[in-house]
Point group: C2
Chain length 457, copies 2
């Protein structure tokens, strides 16, 4: 990596203002490592632009000087896609924090790339609407980062992933040019779907600076239920039945007995059921009118359910307790040391076989490790976490991802490819497809300066 | 346009088989003109491949011989995007007619590009599912064509446009390479969204040969209502209220008194109401249980509704009668001669002003013409049809589209840009955006042989 000269640093300061170019290691270190600690990079400068125009000037300048940059939002990614592993400059978009007014007639708002998901949710709620995306990292994850990764989360079943919420974006392409399409018209076939293409491109095609987001009507009455089941087969059958029988279904999460044990021990929580069960489903249903009876009827009709705990609309504290069993998994596992986190999708028909085989495959690759599974059951999306493995040892990752591909699953459900899965993109995508990706990359980032070390092998 | 040699025609025959290369004018003429008769082209050959492999060989051969081609599905497009206006070869995809089995667990199916929308609907229904897209051209419009144009239609309000139904595609890019991603996983962030990019690209980036489509649960109980209103302002208020009050709402169509008069006269239909009204809304609500009471309550709460006719779930013939007032518009207008058809979206706040101004703008540009409006009210999508204008006279188109852009609307809602609107893409898209489109086009179609005369100015 070429050293920046004093003159070059001065140019960066002239673009964004002195206080917004960070060079001291104690200031840049937080931007150089992901929050799990697995992906550790370094950077000569973190640049914090305050406008789309400044982003454009920065990208143009980087292209001219052949300097690579990594766009970064809330730095909550899990695949090493937002940290400077190759010594790139970090372009932090967090200062792009404007939230525009909610258009009440159409249910839309425009938000800057640095706005957190929690802030979008709050702005929507204040105007009588809701945002269709929710995820555990809501207080840090940003609009720009969630679009760049096409983030999924807890409500994909009902509202789709982030791409389905994006009506248009403003972005800076790799030559510094600005594209902006924030009108928010519901039908608008005027040229190629640039917004959809940028969504999920992990900062490799353009830097998203703002987005027009679709909101959804708020559903005030929520019911949460935790089910204990004896087998993955019963879990799959339950999910299929619930999707058909319970239109109010908004989330169906899954975890397993060993993960529950870890969560309860780590945080000193009471166990939900007296007897130990193998598989747990956490449901949330939401509707305009109290869906308690609908949930009870749909759950009552399921075969193979050994235990049920329901928290009705009037019991928010109890609902939060039930959710905690699921949401605390990430933190509990992380307390064992930086895990290898593999985020995968399996076809419903292959889920039971995967859950059976994956611990064996992991044990073969790393006998000292432990394997934890949890995820979003209705999407077929499991998060495979492996602890007790050296961060640099990829043999477990390879073994798990090869199993996923052999079962016709996706090696990246909602976290993206980043650095972590780059070597294995070919398990899911043909050489022809990867060649097409490279041509798209060259078209929008001709100098190859935007996040050059992620996604493409 | 260069003449094909006898040897070259023989090569085409060797790729697809003798009966599938049409060269006689009486056989090719139907492929050379759009169904409204406005866009008349000519071709030396219509080639009808029977497999993705044959499409790939044809595209590779065309690239090698510098011959342009126009992909064509059901030829129901309205913007001259699927006919050989520059003497291109026509690549008819209608023989790619396979419909795969419905995956009942996930609610998905794979269909060839040549399968009609009606056939997708039938296959879905036979397995207890439904397809989210419906449009008047359902018996001719194909999977490939509706994806290439991101077709909208009657159910966008509830299920989104075609892009929202597409889980993956198989396509041949401009260099003849085949990309295929038909696994149908709900979460799958493995690289760029090629399927979404091809969707709406109007055959300029690749030739779609098959698609994996998302199905939706069938909603058996349908209620149709026709409302007579006195003003566009009352119509806009009604749409906003219905969207919030009636979750079962599936379609909200709009037409006006002059269009209704024309339809009733052309087809000898009885008028729906004794008194003449200015604006009509046609609603359809669909649910698992009879939504008649919900519709009655929601409609009863609307101010400004002068007349109401309801056809309940038990009156399918009456429902079809009410729908006919709306669906017969296209044919009734077409009977006056080939219309100029402009398909536009307006923001809700600008709709009343547009409806007021557009007849004046049209009359100024073409005093002998007549202007007809109808469309999909909930999407802000109006179809502006102008009759009595020479097919080659673009002054009316320009005047209407400039008005749309001045009111922050989209010059192409669901029909695409094609040839018809190509000169005016710049009204909605900046030079920078169009430059980005060109670079994407060059990336996936390096020889510029795929539908070279549409979309990009």
């Amino acid at each position: 990596v070429r050293r920046l000269s004093a003159e070059e640093l001065q140019t960066l300061r002239s673009i964004v203002g002195d206080p917004h170019v960070l060079v001291d290691a104690d200031l840049t270190s937080g931007y150089s490592v992901d929050w799990t600690g697995r992906f550790q990079g370094s950077t000569q400068a973190v640049v914090r632009p305050g406008s789309t125009r400044e982003v454009s000037r920065l990208v143009s300048w980087c292209l001219e000087h052949d300097l690579a940059l990594v766009p970064q939002g809330g730095n909550t990614g899990l695949v090493g896609g937002g940290v400077p592993l190759g010594g790139e400059l970090v372009l932090s978009l967090r200062r792009l924090g404007d939230v525009g007014p909610v258009d009440g007639a159409s249910g839309q708002l425009t938000a800057g790339a640095g706005v957190t998901i929690a802030a979008v949710q709050a702005a929507a709620a204040a105007a009588g609407w809701a945002y269709g995306v929710d995820l555990a990292a809501r207080d840090s994850a940003t609009v720009g980062g969630t679009i760049a990764t096409n983030a999924g989360g807890l409500r994909v079943l009902r509202y789709g992933a982030t791409r389905a919420q994006v009506l248009g974006v403003e972005a800076v392409l790799g030559d510094g040019s600005v594209v902006s399409h924030l009108g928010g018209l519901l039908k608008d076939n005027t040229g190629y779907d640039l917004a959809g293409l940028l969504c999920g491109s992990e900062g490799t095609l353009g830097v998203i600076t703002a987005a027009r987001l679709r909101l959804v009507p708020p559903l005030g009455e929520r019911v949460v239920a935790l089910l204990g089941l004896e087998s993955v087969a019963a879990m799959i059958a339950a999910v299929g039945s619930l999707r058909r029988q319970l239109p109010a279904l908004e989330a169906v999460e899954v975890f397993f007995s060993d993960g529950l044990d870890l969560v309860c021990e780590t945080f000193g929580l009471a166990r939900p059921f007296a007897r130990r069960r193998g598989v747990f489903l956490l449901l949330e249903a939401a509707a305009a009118t109290d869906p308690t009876d609908d949930v009870a009827a749909a759950v009552g009709a399921l075969p193979g359910v050994a235990e049920v705990a329901v928290a009705t609309a009037g019991e928010p504290a109890r609902q939060a307790e039930l959710w905690r069993y699921r949401e605390a998994h990430t933190e509990a596992i992380n307390s064992l040391g930086p895990p290898h986190k593999l985020d995968v999708t399996l076809p419903a028909a292959a889920m039971a076989r995967f859950v059976e085989l994956v611990p064996r495959v992991v044990a073969d690759a790393a006998p000292e490790s432990r394997c934890w599974l949890f995820g979003h059951a209705a999407d077929g999306n499991l998060h495979v976490n492996v602890t007790g493995v050296d961060p640099g040892d990829d043999s477990v990752d390879e073994a798990v991802l090869e199993l996923v591909a052999a079962l016709d699953g996706s090696i990246s459900a909602e976290h993206g490819i980043g650095t972590a899965k780059k070597p294995w993109l070919g398990l899911n995508r043909s050489p022809t497809e990867i060649q097409a990706f490279r041509r798209l990359k060259a078209a929008l980032d001709p100098g190859g300066i935007l996040n050059p070390n992620v996604l493409l092998p």
